[in-house]
Amino acid sequence: MEIVVCLKQIVDPEIPASEFRLDPVTKRQIRGSHALVISTYDENALEVALQLKEKQGGKVTAVTIGEEQATEALRKALAMGADSAVLISDPPLLEADDLGKARVLARAIRKLTTPDLILCGCESADWVSRIVGPFLAEELGLPCVTFGTRIEPRDGKIVVRRIVEDGYHLVEAALPAVVTIASDETNTPRLPKVRDIMAAVKKPITLLRMADLGIEPGSLKEMEGRIVLQDVAIPVREARCEFIEGDTPEEQAERLVLRLKELKVI
């Protein structure tokens, strides 16, 4: 099975809120000295791809759009077990919106291979828009399943376990297809083996420019014709905690109940 996994390198989403800074001009997070990591669910997607490869045979290609430093993310993907890696890098791409990114990815994927399956994380851990996966499916004209956690090949198709609010659905999809991946206990990303880390340093990474894909810079920000990001702000919390005192737990409990009644919440 030929599988393409789309990855995004982001600033460590686990940093404390106190360390979070925004650039007022770009309206994006300032990296500072924080680590760059593969976006959380993209790693789950890679894990699902690698497990499928182990079961079915085939090839896994990791693709990312990013700057030079995104090669680090690709090296990690190679170390985890991806067979090849592609970096799509060009300065105008930094400005691309979700539609632009989906187009670029779709062109790159078509140019590189004829995949059976394309996996993305269900959302990026930074912007959490959950758009690029379905957009990519539309660009490629492929069926789309979102928030899958497990994929079973069955009779030339796949069965995806899609998580929903109160459980899950088993969804059959024809191949090729685009599936976005959410996490569960079966797709926790593996720790790369040390030999693979060392081998990954020597593997080549394919570099694609916009010219290679025949993409015009003007086509990267079409969403702005409809909707514009006006502002990004860090919310201020106004709450100051009111402590319920009391000499005994009973007293505290009684005061709490009375206070909640005043607030009309019980």
């Binding site: 460590d12 686990e14 940093i15 404390p16 809120a17 106190s18 360390e19 000295s33 924080h34 680590a35 990591v37 926790t188 990303p189 593996r190 720790l191 790369p192 083996k193 040390v194 030999r195 880390i197 060392m198």
Partner: protein
Amino acid sequence: MGIDWPRGIAVLVLTGVATAIFLREMARIYRFLRLGQGSLRVDRVGKRLLDLIVYVLGHVKVLAWTYSGVLHLFIFWGFLVLLTTILQQYGEAFVPGWSLPWIGNSPVLAGLQDLFILLVLVGVGMALYLRAVVRPPRFRSSNPLDAYLILGLITGIMVGLAGSRATAIALSKEAPPGWLAGAFLSRALAVWFKGFSPSMLHLVHELFWWLHLLIILFFLTWIPEGKHLHLITIFPNIFLRKLTPRGALRPLDLEKAESLGVGKVEQFHWKDLLDTFACMECGRCTAVCPANATGKELDPRRLHTAIRHHLVEVGERVIAARESGQAIDRPSLIGDVFSEDFLWQCVTCAACIQECPAFNEHIDKIVDMRRYLVMEESRAPDTILEALRSLEARGHPFKGALASRTDWAKGMGIKEVARDGPAEWLFWVGCAAAFDERAQKVAQAMARILQIAGVDFAILGGEERCTGDPARRMGHEYLFQMLAQENIATLERYGITRILTICPHCYNTLKNEYPQFGGNFQVVHHSQFLAALLREGRLQLRQPLNLSLTFHDPCYLGRHNGEYEAPRQVLRALGGNRVVEMERCRERAFCCGAGGGLFWAEERVGKRINHERAEHALETGAEVVGTACPYCLVMFEDAVKAKEAPFRPRDIAELLADAL
């Protein structure tokens, strides 16, 4: 007196057979040892020879456990002294009535020999009492048959020897001059044989004489089969012991190593294999192991005996396979011989190493197998993997920390090297004190003390990375070496030479392990630094703390680095304190449960180690448990919450800051 050729030749033939059997077995074991990795390099020969005198002849470590130490001392020295009687016997075999030249007729030697016959029997009696009556749990996994057989053999040798001496005295018409005077025991026993007819007496003498010799020869053939091999292996094992700091794990050449860690028995270092043949199964390691004591599978004695049994079982086939190049079917070292749980229960506290009379190194073996699991197989408990991933991504193991590396220092006016240039001392904060809310208070207290004492210091702030201690002990040597190299580069870039740290784990790694990668710094633990500040009178105590205190020795400060006094000096200097020691303190301190990277592991099996340790503290009745490690502190806080214990854990720096 003529030469008794038939008897002499009979003795020589029997001896030859026994020696051949012995040597064949020893050669086999030697070939097994040769399977191991690494080469033999001997440095510091003088120190090593001295060790043999102190620890083999002097029994210094064996005597740390008084009862079993004394009994062993009796038997061991009996063995040495009574070697003279064996020489005597070989002479007698050819020349009846022969005695050792020079000393053979000394009444002192005869007296010593008799004394040790008695002491060996006392020793055997004590050993039997210990095994059969006291039955300490540490003998649980030891082979009782082997032990009783050997005790029986020793008794037999002593009976044969004493009997042959007593009957020889009874037989002799005129008393042999000299030595008889000293042989108090043999003379007393000879009285029993007074009524025997000469021929009967002669027969009985011959019986004792042959009993003595035959048991010794049987013993010789039996030595390689069981734990009594330590009679031989203890000498090379102590001579070749690790003289590098205890806290420094053996580095692994990641580029050249055939296997990253140990997944098969022949991948162990050959000295680790020798360790297993030097193990005398005394079980002291298991008796002091905190994991074992809290109902876990880990058993440091079994670590050694199981490797030895496994090696003996598969050794020949491995050698054959090495020559033929074919794979062999055998039980897996990790999985069949040791479960993964077994390997992940070790807190690397070194309590076992501290007690081992053979100087065996338990931690290296366990970490070697963890290395294989983590680096070759990518397998570890989930939370360990999570911590490793965090270490790799962000240089600290506290994923989801609510603080940044420098949050604790906000508003304290603390210099940062990158911003303000290096200071006289680099204050190495460590991840625990930076990211854990409770441990942050230790960093703040320490910084305040340094400011009061007027010490010029700075922190690395955002440029500090985990020293790699947890990664290394979790078996991820690659990640450890990356972190170590990054930190060494940072420290060297700023020309830093003197480092002060509040974390014993950082202390151990910076001091003992960074030199393996060319990082040589003067590293001081805050307990030592504070003790020095107090000694030099640079801190004026405003108020004595009227507290009853106990002190919990962090493993990586105490056992791994031998620092027991400095933190106690600080506590005593606080004035008015009562310091009550826990039963297990100093060299025998019981781990808090966090070492070996297990701070990040879920402790699902058995009682939690920190709960057990909290109970030890509770027994002292102290109001405050002093410690000198942020991990110990957090583990204690956790136990106090869970057990609602009426004491407060505090770092010595916090206590000192309170008194200023």
